[in-house]
Each structure stands twice: as structure tokens, then as C-alpha cells.
Symmetry: C2
Subunit: 154 residues, 2 copies
């Protein structure tokens, strides 16, 4: 069995899951604290998608802890297929949400100047939440690639 850094059931894998959970939770908190975000579909979708990502990462993180404490091997074909599907679905949804939120932040800042015209609009929080979402996506993509590689090499 390949000993790739970040594989499920290893310390690296647990660190990736913890990072994903922390960034997804930070993104949700910052976005939820921005008044009026519910007026924009993309920001609502970002919250929903980060919620899913946080739940998935928390679940897999707990499984990694279990495997580490009881020294179990999670690298079985059935489990890996399950992980790869879940990881790819959450990674793609998170990336789509982060990109659409990023597109709207750029639009507000540079194209239609909503941020300048309406000082009440919490553009700073939208930006920080989008940045957290991209960080979460980067870690999520790393997990997805590691698991896909392991599954292909099984």
C-alpha cells in the first residue's frame, strides 16, 4: 500500500481535514456576520457549500482519529471509492462556490463600484470569506488528489 503524505488514516490526512474544517467554518462565520449577504445567491450558496465541506471534513477527520488511535488501515478499495466520490463532490462544489463568490466580489469592487457607492455593503467581509473559501478549496483539492492517486494505484 502506498505511503503517500495526506493519505486517509495518517497524521497528514488528519491535518488536511482539520485545515479544511477550520477554513470552511471561518468562511461561514465571516460571511454570516456580513449584513445583507442573503440578498446574493452566490454568497448563500457559498455558506451552503462550506457547510457541507465542514461536515464532510469533520466526519473524515474523526475517522482519521479513530484509525490513528486504534491503528486501523483505512486504505481498502471500498472505503477509498467512497472517500474519492465524497471528496471530489465537496471539492468541486466548494471551488464552484468560491469562484462564483470571487467573481461577484470583483464585480462589486471593480466593475459596478457597489462597494464605493454603498458604504453600508460589507465588501471587506465578503472578500475575507471568499479568501477563506479558496484556502479551504486548496486543502480539499489536495485531499481529493491524494485519494484519487491512491485509488488509481491500488
Amino acid at each position: 500500500m502506498t505511503k503517500l503524505t495526506g493519505r486517509p488514516g495518517s497524521l497528514g490526512g488528519l491535518a488536511l481535514r482539520a485545515g479544511q474544517f477550520v477554513f470552511a467554518a471561518a468562511c461561514m462565520c465571516v460571511m454570516a456576520s456580513a449584513p445583507g449577504f442573503t440578498n446574493y445567491t452566490a454568497f448563500c450558496y457559498l455558506i451552503a457549500s462550506m457547510g457541507l465541506q465542514a461536515l464532510w471534513s469533520l466526519g473524515l477527520g474523526c475517522l482519521d482519529c479513530y484509525a490513528l488511535v486504534l491503528k486501523r488501515d483505512l486504505q481498502q478499495a471500498f472505503l477509498m471509492s467512497l472517500f474519492v466520490v465524497g471528496d471530489w463532490v465537496t471539492a468541486i462544489l466548494s471551488f464552484a462556490a468560491a469562484c462564483s463568490a470571487g467573481g461577484i466580489v470583483v464585480l462589486f469592487e471593480r466593475d459596478v463600484y457597489f462597494c464605493r457607492k454603498d458604504p453600508q455593503l460589507p465588501c471587506g467581509r465578503f472578500e475575507v470569506a471568499t479568501a477563506f473559501a479558496f484556502l479551504c478549496c486548496a486543502l480539499s483539492t489536495a485531499s481529493a488528489l491524494v485519494i484519487f492517486w491512491l485509488l488509481a494505484a491500488l
Copy 2:
């Protein structure tokens, strides 16, 4: 060597490249024919990213034709590593562009009602171009996954 459908140097691979090129070109044509698209960063980025995707797919499509006609094998570790990097970069850029354009189309249609307020805005063309971009992304992701799988199984 694995005989996966859509591998480089096969008819399936050529069909995937042709599809990517056609959808990317269609997206660029429709977006370029929409007056005022240059006012929006995300739509300019969509054109740039689809241009890169079209060039990459055209190049790889020509290589597939060459391999098919001269019966050459493209599945060598060096070539595959090159393809996998190029494919992932173009697929991720295209997906990011499609998602940010999609986010803005939804914003215009449903959140700030720009399409209803300003009948001059070619929302229909923005939507069609975004749809073509997503179709192009789907094919591009298929290519990228096939090549990643083949590289991992080498």
C-alpha cells in the same frame, strides 16, 4: 498500458479534444458578440480562459491525429506528465472562469435585476456563453481525470 477510453492518441481522446475546442470556440464567439461584455472582468477572464483552452485542445487534438495516423504511442511517462499538468491547469482555469461568469449571470438575473432594468444588456448571450463554458469544462475535466488515472496507473 491501460486501454482507457479517452486516452491520448485514441479516437476517444480525439473526440474529447474536438468537443473541448468546439465548445470553447462557441463560448468565445457568443461572448464576443455580446455588446458591453468588456465592462465585466469575469466575462473578459472567461474569454481569455476559453482562448487558452481552445489552443491547448487544438494542439493536443493535432497530436492525437498524428498518433492515430502514424500509429504512435503517446502513453510515455514524460509526455503524460506534461499532458496532466497542462490539462489540470486549463481545466481548473476554465472551471473557475465558468463559475465566476455563472455567478454573475445569476446575480444579474435574480439578485440585482440588471437584466430587467436594462433591456440593452445581452443577458441571453451571457447565459449561452456560460453554458458553453460549462460544457467545455465537463469535457476538459473528463480528459484531465483520464490522464491522471493513466499516470497514476503507469
